[in-house]
Amino acid sequence: MQHVRLMLMAEDLPRASLALAETAQFHPDTRPPEEQALANPPGRDYRETFAMARSRLDKIARILELEDSPEPGQTRVIDHDDLAALNQQLGTLWEDASRLEEDFRRLDEEERVLREQEAALENFANLNVDLGALKRKTRFLDFYIGLVPRENVSRLEGAVALAGHLLLHFLQRDNHAHVVIIGPSGEREKQLASVLSSAGFQALPIPEGITDKTPEQLEADFRARHQALEARRGALKQRLVDLRTKHCEQLLDARRMLLLAEPLVTLDPSIHGVKSLAVLCGWVPTRAIERLRENLGAHLQLPFALETRRPTAAERPLVPTVPTHNRLLAPFSTLVKQYGIPQYGEIDPTPLFAVTFLLMFGMMFGDVGHGAVIALAAYLARAKLKNFAAFGMAAGVSSMLFGFVFGSIFGVEHWLPALWMPPLQDPITLLKVALVWGIVFIIAACSLGIYNRFAVGNIQGALLAPHGLVNLLFYLGFLTGGWNLATRGGFGLWPGVIVLGSLATLAVHQWRHLSGPVGEKMLVVFIETLDTVIVYLSNTLSFLRVSAFSLNHAALAIAIFTLADMLGTFGTIVTLILGNLFILVLEGGIVMIQVMRLQYYEGFSRYFSGDGHEFAPLRFGEVKKLRS
């Protein structure tokens, strides 16, 4: 990976952004410039205009329910004038669309009020009130019938009381209350009007001629009003369709233009400069530098300079890491990413993860039949699982291969000759294999971790950090001593020296990095040192689960066959089917979790920092060909 610094004239920025996006190998570096003089970035107007145009387009597309995506087309440079003109057009169009949206909202509101009016009149009909009398305003009395938000009723009641009026709350629907306000007409009418408006009062007028009409006629009136509203809604919908049809192409063009303008906007935080000079920094894979230079040379109209250099030691944490592109490894890469992204220079753990994951899964769930079911299920569900189908199939195949090793098919161990031995034949040997596997895994993980720290220039970390070289020495000494103890009855001098020496080194290192009272430091150092011993011992034993689960698999199968033997033919069939399903789903799930646990905690935590960040180059979707 190389750090590149592109110096160019500000007016060439749109072209440069397209050239960089087309190459799809430029990861922007957003750090502020070292030179103070370059602190005035050009192109802020461009970003603001783009943001406004994009926002307008999104809003219009939502209102007009525009779902089409633009067809791939030829690229062209979108300068600020083009963008400003587009923004202007979209502004006019947005006003039309927004007015339409507001009209729909008003229509909804009118419809709501009409429904409330119907409900109010129905309620009055039940109360046997003379609505004609309420409609006639007298010289002495004011009537207000309407809706207020439910939570305002109490305060409004007090407020109208102060104006000498009475509030009657007669119906509640949703969040609104139906109220009648009655009081003397006169000078307080004006202040009451102001209060009503603050309270969000909506009048519910009593229809004309209400006293002269029969209920059927009133019902017909309301029906007619609903129909009128529906007719207006239909007209509005038609206007919406017309607007969409009329401007569809224009909006798709706008989308294309914004797609082409987007790379420059994405680059904006990494553009610095002064007056007409712009500086653009980023990270580019070494192999792509020449292609980038050629592409820029072909498309920029004004002179430019492209400087490249290797990242400095201090910059390493900032350098992006190119992800694994292997299609088969893609699902494993996704699982690795759940833990973190490898730092630049670190070994990508994905291939190692894939191999060890499959080995452990196969050993813990070794069965030709169950493995075949898993592989088949993953194959059949490949459309749904996408990348993970390969993962499922690989796990199934691994399970099948170990099934041949153990001679197990759907838990039956006498149909197939075992290439090695069935797990329950000699559990101790199986446990020993798991222990050796764990030791090899831990040593490999520590070695990788040490290498990775050396690779990123962290010498002290490689030697003294948790799972560093001193830790590894301790572990090797501990293992040798343990072996001596088991075979010869004594720990041995050299292993003892190595263990004590490495622990003392770690303790001194801890002590030097601790602050606080001496007692506290002693306590912390003692606990941390003890922790080192316990962690390595427990981590090694942790791998016993690899064989424990293969024993478990065989034992579960025996339990199911025993249960099936105790039942009749039908019961046997049902038990075998359900039992195998149980093994597949529950045990399969548990094994998967255990393997992940071993990988994350015993593996990744030793050799993988996971604090890198992914290479995310500037790119645009469909558009392929650059035209200046």
């Binding site: 507001e102 305002n152 109490s154 409004l156 007090g158 407020a159 102060l162 408006s197 603050s198 969000g200």
Partner: protein
């Protein structure tokens, strides 16, 4: 909340309460020049930045508010959902400030960049759907967006107010009402040992707010009694509904202050103008809040009391810094704040800027 969580929260509040200003510390701050004060608060970079005085004041306010919100984040961790919701609702006023800024900006067609500068940067738990609201291009669109979210009722009411009155005051009053109503409603849902101290705390807050609103609406804006009453949110303590109904009918400041219930009446005995009333009302609230902080056993009430006092302290600091940034003479700045209120048993008056 479990006893252990109460103990933890109470310990946390007690530890954090050591940060609150007392008269000595407040007086010491008053004597500091702007650079010294900024250095003590870790705000040198803001003060030294090449920005306008307004922009610097805004940055200072934002920094102080982040301090307060950091305390909120710490205190809500051990709380149960209802307690957490109450504290977040209290802190949500900053989100409502943003909403008011947006409404005002849209109403007066301000430049989006200018509006953006005046918005507080809030953590996700308190934030409005700011980007979507910010992208709106007029008040009606803003209200339509609001109607689609949790503020739908407020937006509908605001729309009616806006369409009839076309003034931001009515909208902002509706927002404030809803804010305080929500706080009271949430408080009254509590049961057990927390209810009483929370009632008292919220009562002190609303007594202060109602008194100031009542005086302003009646005598500064000339609202009628019924209009004034409608704008108030009855307090669960002194200025409850019936008392407000009686108070708003008074014809002048003196009559109204004399009719206040004790201890507010005694405190306002010789207050002659709104500024003085405000200082004393804030002092009353501070005293009540401090009482809850020191005497209550309820973790949530003490946490909220601490936050309210902390906010007052931060406002004092903001007043001092802002005065310095505007180049005001020290005696003018000192006249705006009264450090004797801090931790004093008799209250004595708090910072004017807090109201």
């Amino acid at each position: 909340m479990s006893a252990a969580a109460h103990a933890y929260l109470n310990t946390r509040v007690s530890v954090m309460s050591a940060r609150l200003l007392n008269p000595d510390r407040a007086n010491a701050l008053l004597g500091l020049a702007l650079p010294e004060l900024a250095e003590r608060l870790g705000l040198q970079s803001v003060i030294e930045d090449q920005l306008s005085a307004h922009a610097k004041a805004r940055a200072v306010e934002q920094a102080l508010m982040q301090t307060l919100l950091a305390d909120v984040a710490v205190l809500i961790r051990p709380m149960n959902p209802a307690e957490r919701a109450l504290l977040l609702s209290w802190a949500r006023r900053y989100a409502l400030f943003n909403l008011k800024t947006l409404i005002r900006g849209k109403l007066y067609h301000l430049d989006p960049g200018e509006i953006r500068k005046d918005l507080y940067d809030l953590p996700p738990g308190l934030r409005l759907a700011r980007d979507e609201l910010f992208r709106t291009e007029n008040v009606l669109e803003l209200l339509r967006v609001l109607e689609r979210g949790p503020f739908s009722l407020l937006a509908r009411q605001a729309r009616e107010v806006y369409e009839q009155k076309r003034e931001p005051f009515a909208l902002e009053a509706a927002i404030d009402q809803q804010y305080y109503n929500d706080l009271v409603r949430q408080t009254m849902r509590f049961q057990g040992a927390s209810l009483q101290p929370l009632r008292r705390l919220m009562g002190a807050l609303l007594d202060r707010v109602d008194l100031m609103w009542m005086l302003r609406f009646r005598f500064a804006y000339g609202f009628s009694p019924s209009e004034t009453f409608y704008q108030l949110v009855p307090s669960p303590r002194l200025l409850h509904r019936e008392r407000l109904l009686a108070l708003v009918n008074h014809e002048n400041l003196r009559q109204l202050l004399d009719a206040l219930p004790e201890p507010l009446a005694a405190r306002m005995a010789d207050a002659g103008d709104l500024l003085e009333v405000q200082r004393r009302a804030v002092a009353h609230q501070a005293e009540e809040t401090r009482h809850i902080l020191t005497q209550s056993a309820s973790g949530v009430a003490r946490a909220l009391a601490y936050l309210m006092l902390r906010e007052m302290d931060l406002m004092l600091l903001f007043a001092l810094l802002q005065g310095g940034l505007l180049g005001l003479p020290p005696d003018v700045i000192k006249s705006a704040v009264d450090p004797h209120a801090f931790g004093a048993a008799n209250g004595g008056g708090a910072l004017a800027a807090a109201a």
